[in-house]
């Protein structure tokens, strides 16, 4: 008998004790100088986050200027009227504050995480950075060329390459969603300093901005932070924007992006999806969690744990304020590209036709509801959640209500969502891999027509 099996172990799985109650951290909304501040008090946290959420996301970009929002975000830190980029960086870093500026479809978000004692000083720097941004020609031109280098690196990575091709093939040419939220080489290369300054002037102002604060606010005057950012700021009157326009092709098809010499193939399979406000949002996303959003999801179980084709397979909805996508993805060993794609498509079809089991639903519900206190543990996550409330116009009790809705969603609703929201009759299957070795096999799967495109896009 080996030593290990001599262990005395408790055979019965423990029974959990009673759950302790949790709710999303309470927060307050303030009107300050005609603008909005949202602040959550997180007692005992040594770090705080102060962030400006601006209605200047990628969907607000003018046609042909795709990427200008991210270029603006990246250029903000390059100096103000009074300070050059280096002085600005040192001023923040001497507080222990690191600058973050990101763009998603709906918003531009920028700010600092900082030891809570210096949250006021960091807010002053945030206000200066956003309001008094220098946006000088040479800085914009340098950051634009850095962005172009970033994009060429992205194109060499199978995942980013697949994502870009998926968007390009799925959405109509005139939809903003046909290009990544950071733009593409052609559009970024054409951006001028005037474009960046015009976007700043047109979209970044007190009317379209909300200041989000998350941290231990015991010694923090939140209204004062709001005044620092908003008082005396006259700027853009942002107007609502709209996008989408998806291509709805008939039938499924395969787009094979040739990447010679690849030892794996990157699979991106999916279609368009409804916007965040869809009434069956909870049902469809809970279904998607069981399909591809957890380690024990069907996709990961089948492609990784059962077949060993991949290090991981995932799938889910990206529901935006306007429209969205469903994508299932996996990087698979080249030799098994065709069987892996067939297996993946079969799992989607099975889910659409037969739905979840009651056990799978219970598992997904419990996971998704249980994870809230873990996901919202820190100031960064809480600030991000508050930013989402702002962007989507959710009510104050949104997260607690969402959690209750998840726990209440039933099998009929979830399986109806699988039938309604998975379109296995018109899948777009993007494969990034070595076309010479996998092309014929992909044609033989019968999933759909196979179009080969050059790696360079």
């Amino acid at each position: 008998m080996s030593q290990a099996s001599a262990a005395r172990l408790v055979a019965e799985r423990p029974v959990p004790t009673d759950p302790r109650p949790w709710s999303f951290p309470s927060f307050d909304r303030y009107d300050v100088a005609g603008s909005r501040v949202v602040a959550a008090h997180l007692p005992g946290k040594p770090l705080a986050v102060v962030s400006l959420v601006v209605d200047a996301g990628a969907i607000a970009e003018p046609r042909g200027k795709e990427g200008v929002a991210l270029l603006l975000a990246a250029t903000l830190a390059e100096g103000t009227r009074d300070r050059d980029a280096y002085s600005l960086a040192v001023a923040a870093e001497r507080l222990g504050a690191s600058w973050r500026a990101d763009v998603d479809w709906e918003s531009l978000r920028c700010g600092f995480e900082v030891p809570v004692g210096d949250v006021r000083a960091a807010t002053e720097l945030l206000a200066e950075t956003v309001r008094d941004a220098a946006l000088a020609d040479d800085a914009i031109e340098r950051v634009r060329s850095e962005r172009l280098d970033d994009l060429s690196i992205d194109m060499s990575q199978p995942g980013a390459r697949a994502s870009m091709e998926f968007a390009k093939q799925l959405f109509a040419e005139d939809s903003r969603y046909s290009r990544p939220d950071g733009g593409v080489v052609d559009t970024v290369a054409g951006l001028t300093p005037d474009d960046v300054r015009a976007f700043h002037a047109g979209r970044v102002g007190p009317a379209g901005a909300t200041l989000v604060v998350a941290g231990d606010l015991t010694d923090v005057d939140v209204r004062e932070l709001g005044r620092i950012v908003f008082e005396g700021w006259s700027g853009a009157e942002s107007s609502p924007v709209s996008t989408t326009a998806t291509a709805h092709p008939a039938g499924s098809r395969v787009v094979l992006v040739d990447r010679p010499g690849s030892v794996q193939s990157m699979l991106y399979v999916g279609h368009e999806a409804p916007a965040r406000r869809t009434p069956d949002y909870v049902a469809m996303t809970t279904m998607a969690l069981a399909l591809g959003g957890m380690f024990n999801s069907r996709l990961n179980y089948r492609l990784r744990e059962d077949k060993g084709y991949t290090y991981g397979a995932f799938g889910g909805f990206d529901c935006r304020r306007d429209g969205g996508v469903f994508v299932a993805r996996a990087a698979v060993q080249s030799e098994v590209t065709a069987p892996a794609l067939t297996t993946l498509v079969n799992e989607l079809t099975l889910m659409r036709e037969a739905g979840l089991t009651a056990d799978e639903l219970e598992h997904a519900r419990n996971y998704r509801a249980g994870i809230f206190p873990i996901n919202f543990a820190g100031p960064g996550a809480v600030a991000s959640g508050l930013g989402d409330l702002v962007v989507h116009g959710h009510p104050d009790d949104h997260f607690d209500r969402l959690r209750a809705d998840i726990l209440a969603v039933g099998l009929d609703a979830v399986n109806q969502a699988a039938a309604d929201r998975l379109h296995t009759d018109r899948l777009l299957c993007v494969v990034v891999g070595d076309a010479a070795s996998i092309g014929d096999e992909l044609r033989a799967t019968g999933i759909g027509s196979v179009e080969v495109v050059n790696d360079g896009g």
């Binding site: 080996s2 290990a4 099996s5 262990a7 172990l9 408790v10 799985r13 959990p16 004790t17 759950p19 109650p21 949790w22 007692p43 946290k45 040594p46 770090l47 830190a77 980029a85 040192v90 870093e93 001497r94 222990g96 504050a97 690191s98 900082v114 030891p115 004692g117 210096d118 340098r142 060329s145 280098d149 060429s152 194109m155 060499s156 990575q157 199978p158 030892v263 794996q264 957890m294 380690f295 024990n296 179980y301 059962d306 060993g308 084709y309 991949t310 290090y311 990087a331 060993q333 219970e362 598992h363 419990n366 996971y367 249980g370 994870i371 206190p373 873990i374 543990a377 820190g378 360079g456």
Partner: protein, 435 residues
């Protein structure tokens, strides 16, 4: 300087040698459970590279009382997260769960600590071997620049040094791994007296100790463990190692690795401060010179320079230098060396203040979550037998002086102590693009 938090903890050693660290934090109803085993890739022997990591995968395939998919299944159904990782100096396993599921996590960890072999079979091994090979393909072989860390390890440490091979191992060794190898590995390393269990969160320490006794107390101690292969290394490499690596990449990118003192020594603390002054953040010397003043360096996602914490004889200080389009990597490298050399000539108090503030924030961020804190308690207890370093490590780094920084700069940032890897686009790629 912000007031630094003091994290309370208790340390108990069970009769079987398992060290238990418990730290209360009642801010949220969650708890992190974290186990470090004192075995990593540095304990592997030639022909068995990648084994510690492959074995980590097998730890998720069920054990005596836990079904094959139940580890992930039970934790996710509890509303928790989990994973495991392998690195040169350790293998760790961790769960974060709502606090009322604490005992589920302890039970799962105990069952695989004491009863893995009851479930380990050829099918699990064969499946996870394929998963790991795909992990290697996905994260290294099929990624631009994917081989950089492997090459720095290979050339930054002496022949036969246990850090010379990568944690992921070689395809040939992975293929050769047998079920017997796996059983022997477990019998050699997986035991309570080679492990640290940390529990951080909304818990009562007395109840945690009681539960730990119940779940882990019946697992016998092993008593002794093989010494890892000798890890002594001369303080410097002795010569510059320079490699040109043609790869499927769009732009040149240079990685420079310096051998440096091991993690846990005061000199490593000084190297950490050096890396922040020189290459941490937008206000660092390197960022200013190579990004803001002259457009030579593509701003990397992380820091330009970072100190990697290894305990076995030597660590690495690593510079990541992606060249801008059209910039000759030789020009970038020359400019880099000029700035890097300047540190030995002097460091200002203002530079140190900036670096101290950044190091402090990074550390507070790292310890902000219960899972980050649990992992750090396990780390310091495993590597240095001192969980109190969770509170004491940062003050130690903050006490580093300008003289310390200049001294380690002279000792580490030297031409005869660096591995220079220059990744350059393969000519074939350009030909294809033109065709």
């Amino acid at each position: 300087m912000p007031t630094l938090p003091h994290y309370p903890f208790t340390l108990h050693t069970l009769d079987n040698g398992l060290r238990l660290v418990v730290s209360e934090d009642h801010l949220a109803p969650v708890v992190a459970v974290n186990v470090w085993y004192d075995v990593g890739s540095r304990h592997e022997t030639p022909g068995r590279t990648g084994f510690a990591h492959l074995f980590e995968h097998l730890m998720f395939q069920g054990s005596r009382n836990v079904g094959r998919n139940d580890h992930f299944g039970l934790i996710s159904a509890a509303g928790g997260t989990l994973n495991g990782t392998t690195w040169c100096d350790r293998t760790n396993y961790y769960e974060t769960v709502p606090a009322h599921h604490l005992e589920t996590a302890l039970w799962l960890e105990a069952d695989r600590m004491g009863g893995l072999l009851d479930a380990l079979d050829q099918q699990n091994l064969d499946n996870q071997r394929e998963v790991v090979k795909n992990e290697k393909r996905q994260t290294r072989d099929n990624q631009p620049y994917g081989r950089w860390l492997e090459l720095l390890h290979e050339h930054g440490f002496p022949q036969g040094h246990p850090y010379q091979h990568s944690t992921i191992g070689s395809m040939a060794d992975l293929d050769a791994a047998s079920l017997e190898d796996a059983r022997a590995f477990y019998a050699t390393w997986y035991a309570p007296d080679n492990a640290v269990l940390s529990v951080v969160g909304d818990v009562d320490p007395a109840a945690v100790l009681d539960a730990a006794q119940r779940y882990f107390g019946g697992i016998p101690a092993k008593g002794s463990f093989p010494e890892p292969p000798p890890s002594d290394a001369p303080p410097v490499i002795g010569t510059e190692v320079r490699m040109h690596v043609p790869d499927r990449v769009p732009l040149p990118r240079t990685f420079i690795g310096y051998r440096c003192p091991p993690f846990g020594t005061p000199d490593f603390d000084a190297v950490e401060m050096l890396s922040t002054v020189l290459g941490g953040g937008r206000g660092s010397r390197l960022y200013k010179a190579l990004v803001l003043d002259r457009p030579l360096l593509q701003p990397p996602d992380g820091n330009v320079l970072s100190a990697w914490p290894f305990v076995g004889g030597a660590s690495l200080l690593i510079a990541d230098l992606p060249a801008r389009e059209g910039v000759d990597p030789a020009e970038l490298e020359a400019a880099y060396h000029e700035v890097a050399a300047s540190i030995a000539e002097g460091v200002t108090e203002a530079e140190l203040e900036r670096a101290r503030a950044l190091v402090t924030s990074d550390w507070l961020h790292h310890l902000a979550t219960v899972e980050g804190r649990a992992d750090t308690f396990s780390q310091f207890t495993t590597l240095f037998d001192d969980p109190g370093l969770v509170n004491d490590m940062l003050p130690r780094v903050l006490a580093v002086t300008a003289d310390d920084v200049m001294r380690v700069a002279r000792e580490v940032v030297r031409e005869d102590n660096r591995v220079v890897l220059v990744f350059e686009p393969e000519p074939a790629l350009d030909d294809e693009a033109a065709a």
